[in-house]
């Protein structure tokens, strides 16, 4: 577990505090409430977008699509939801006549990913604690 935490931290997300106990976990996202997952980034494609942007800061649409193995429409729809929540910024431009789209992770998005990681780790820790106590 420790190795996993270090690996994720090296990849661009600071993990500078221990996971909170399961009972005290609260979501940080726009759609999350107490004891709820941040469902906005719980979905796999959106979780992939936020994770990749946590490492690179900014990524082109085409690179994200190749990385996540998804379609144009699917990536656009999920990115739009993240954009609406203020987790990512979408920069559109033209290179000649070709439209070019870059996505950038916002501080709010980074905070949401960090909270999500804490939440996942708290679940694992709580399960192991309960198994050890049984």
């Amino acid at each position: 577990m420790a190795a996993k935490r270090e690996s994720v931290a090296r990849s661009g997300v600071e993990m500078d505090r221990p996971p909170a106990p399961l009972g005290s976990i609260t979501g940080q996202g726009a759609e999350a409430g107490p004891l709820e997952l941040d469902r906005l980034i719980h979905e796999r494609v959106r979780l992939g977008i936020v994770s990749a942007l946590a490492v690179n800061g900014t990524m082109p649409f085409t690179d994200l699509r190749g990385l996540l193995g998804t379609t144009d429409g699917n990536l656009s729809a999920h990115a739009r939801r993240l954009e609406d929540a203020g987790y990512v910024l979408c920069h559109k431009s033209f290179e000649g006549r070709t439209p070019h789209t870059d996505f950038e992770l916002t501080p709010r998005g980074r905070k949401a990913l960090r909270a999500y990681l804490d939440h996942m780790e708290a679940i694992i820790r709580a399960t192991r604690d309960s198994e050890a106590g049984a």
Partner: protein, 205 residues
């Protein structure tokens, strides 16, 4: 290309325990982060082929009857290598679901092109001035500069490869006459092959 697993191992199987789901999510995040770091538009296999072309060119160039013929051999090798690079980059971009001149591939090409154009101009000028002994150094330095600047947006091995080209170019400026083909073979041949294999094995092909 191994994509991060898009869903849990047994979506239609028995219920998945909460902590198993959490571990799977953490694994997915880690895999996605690692993959987003490790991908580069620079084609490793294409680099190996370019290296082999350079080695063949050095064998031909050493028998060139004149200086102009020597320059022509290396120019021919450069053109063939350029074609190989375009095809290899295009194939790699397609395999990642993108286009050749988009995203990381576009940035790399955009940064590599100006030094290559300067190299072509210097080739003409130095050949006319009869200073062809300076060409290997100029070619390696300019190519390395382009790879370093283009690789600034890529994985670490790419700018390192550019730096290695620049160092070999600096050495080429000071080697004794007669070593031109050896330094060209070591630089454009050896470095392309070594770094090409590393990129091929570790960074998406």
């Amino acid at each position: 290309m191994t994509l991060p697993s898009p869903r849990l191992r047994a979506p239609n199987g028995p219920p998945v325990a909460l902590h198993d789901r959490a571990m799977d999510n953490l694994r997915y995040i880690r895999e996605t982060m690692e993959r987003s770091q490790s991908f580069t538009a620079v084609p490793g296999l294409g680099g190996v082929l370019m290296g082999l072309i350079a080695l063949c060119a050095s064998l031909v160039a050493v028998r060139a009857p004149s200086t102009v013929a020597w320059v022509a051999v290396w120019m021919g090798a450069a053109i063939v290598s350029f074609a190989v690079a375009v095809v290899a980059m295009s194939r790699k971009a397609r395999s990642a679901g993108g286009k050749l001149l988009a995203g990381a591939g576009w940035k790399f090409t955009w940064n590599l092109t100006p030094p290559l154009l300067v190299g072509a101009l210097l080739t003409l000028a130095l050949t006319r001035a009869g200073a062809t002994q300076l060409l290997p150094g100029a070619w390696l330095l300019l190519y390395g500069t382009g790879v370093v600047t283009g690789g600034a947006f890529s994985v670490r091995v790419v700018p390192l490869m550019g730096l290695a080209f620049m160092l070999s170019g600096a050495a080429a400026l000071f080697v004794p006459p007669g070593w031109e083909n050896a330094i060209m073979a070591a630089g454009f041949g050896g470095l392309h092959i070594v770094f090409g294999i590393v990129i091929w094995r570790r960074h998406g092909g």
